[in-house]
């Protein structure tokens, strides 16, 4: 069972033309497009039962609360959590990672402790730890990557020490596309008593994730990359871990009782959900999970693998002079293909592609240290999802040849 050929009909945005050309959206690693089913779920909330949750005793408030919590249960099942309470809703994965750094890190990480990251982390999984390390006097270390964009695990035993408190790793790299061996890293981390944080921004949308099988202690994901509205996402962790943690933000809803000078905390997960939440967004996230479950994550992964393999082959066969693809071969790669072309700057490439209706990302994709290590200021990234079709890859390959032609003098 694959992805139905009619899938593009579910995505209204894909019907339009841009600069007189059909829209070719190849920037799903940045944010995915949204199917009608998700948009309608959000509209239904606002049109039929918009009310604040966990407060009103009236019918539409009860419905809003029920749908919000139903969305949590869907996400929990989708990620293989033991129960809905293990899912904390956040605005995005960035907030989920910050939550761990603040609420867990501040309590447990002290001077001289170590935080192990990788050289391919997104800024979202670098900067919160830098802030924490500066505040607590901790030391940051990094797992290096090789020239194929694969993590070098040979020295892992030396990188994880008795002082290591946290190992935080991107599951699927948003620049290389590399699928990292999280389970292997987690085993080594746990053997030394460190906790494992996984940045799942690029894995939850694209493959079957089983947070408990993965060996993670914390798993963050972001809704807008998995068909859901902007401003949705969350954090998974085991109940016991969430319970022993301090709160992150203080305010309404996260409390159990409040006096003028102190407060006690609500149960998990609400302890971490201070203030009025994006209820419509969460309900949209629930609808997105329904949509992905109907497709089947195995079918999603197989489709992307086919498109990615096709893209790698097509770019090779097009023989675009000076083109280099970053990252590993198809066996260790998600639906991300970043590349550079000698003598043509990524922004110029992206600009020319735009006139063909093609959306790709040009820049450092929030992985500046990764690009710096490669001696690059920027790269171009094409990324794929359930609605990507081979014809779009063909359009990309042809447009790249045209770009190369335009800048031929510069080569």
């Amino acid at each position: 069972m694959g992805i139905p050929a009619t899938i593009r009909d579910d995505f209204p945005i894909l019907r339009q033309r841009v600069n007189g050309k059909p829209l070719v959206y190849l920037d799903s690693a940045s944010t995915s497009q949204k199917p009608r089913q998700v948009i309608e779920a959000v509209v239904r909330y606002y049109e039929e039962y918009n009310a604040n949750i966990h407060r009103g005793v009236y019918s539409i408030a009860e419905r809003a609360t029920a749908e919000y919590e139903a969305a949590r249960a869907k996400v929990a099942r989708f990620l293989g959590a033991a129960e809905p309470a293990e899912i904390v809703f956040t605005r995005n994965v960035t907030e989920a990672l910050n939550l761990v750094a603040y609420a867990w890190g501040r309590r447990h990480i002290g001077p001289g402790d170590e935080i192990l990251l990788t050289e391919m982390e997104h800024h979202s999984d670098l900067v919160p730890w830098q802030l924490l390390a500066q505040e607590r006097g901790a030391r940051l270390r990094h797992i290096p990557f090789d020239d194929q964009g694969r993590l070098i695990l040979a020295g892992l035993d030396r990188l994880i020490t008795a002082r290591t408190k946290i190992v935080s790793v991107v599951h699927v790299s948003n620049t290389f596309g590399t699928v990292n061996p999280v389970a292997e890293i987690a085993r080594a981390a746990h053997a030394r008593g460190a906790l494992v944080v996984v940045d799942g921004a690029q894995s939850a949308p694209h493959r079957r994730v089983d947070v408990r099988g993965l060996g993670a202690d914390f798993y963050g994901f972001t809704g807008h990359k998995m068909l859901a509205p902007m401003g949705t996402g969350g954090l998974w962790a085991r109940r016991a871990l969430l319970e022993e943690m301090d709160p992150f933000l203080g305010g309404g809803e996260m409390i159990s009782d409040v006096w003028l000078d102190r407060a006690t905390w609500n149960e998990v997960p609400w302890k971490f959900e201070a203030g009025t939440q994006d209820v419509g967004g969460a309900i949209g996230l629930g609808a997105a999970v329904d949509y992905l479950e109907r497709l089947g994550m195995e079918a999603v992964e197989a489709h992307e693998r086919e498109i990615t393999a096709y893209a790698l082959r097509r770019l090779r066969e097009a023989e675009i002079p000076g083109l280099t693809v970053l990252g590993p071969g198809i066996d260790d790669r998600g639906g991300v293909v970043s590349f550079v072309i000698d003598g043509v700057h990524p922004h110029d490439i992206s600009q020319v592609l735009d006139t063909e209706g093609i959306c790709v990302r040009a820049g450092h994709h929030c992985t500046k240290p990764l690009h710096r290590k490669l001696g690059l200021g920027a790269s171009v990234r094409a990324s794929f999802y359930v609605y990507t079709i081979k014809e779009e890859i063909d359009i990309l390959a042809r447009a790249l040849l045209k770009t190369r032609e335009l800048f031929r003098v510069a080569g």
Binding site: H347, Q351, G363, G377, A378, L406, V409, A410
Partner: protein
Amino acid sequence: MSLDDLYRDVILDHYSHPRNKGTVEGATVTREGANPLCGDEIRLSLVVRDGVVQDVRFDGKGCSISQASASMMTERIKGRGVQEAGRLIAAFKAMMRGEAAGEEMGDLEALQGVRKFPVRVKCATLGWLTLEGALEEAAR
């Protein structure tokens, strides 16, 4: 929007054959500029003496617009008075805002097309803003 408005021949020519590329020996002032959003970088080195830009070179990496604009700029200001260069900077910035330049722009007019691509305006002005900073430093 047509690509030809952006990638005029003179721009592509300066991109592939940059003028005054490198570093001036015995520079009296050097200055770096960067566009953090897209990673364009420009390094200017100048010899400013007796109120005249005696020599200027640029180095850096970035897109065709940022590099060509810097190349054209060095060609234009080399050997010119500091005051004249200052007027040209103002005129270039005005042109990129869509206002009257009030100066003879010559080849630089080719960069007007960039205005139709708002995110690229910063690329075109990078070298000029770096020059502005360098001349201020030289005046101190």
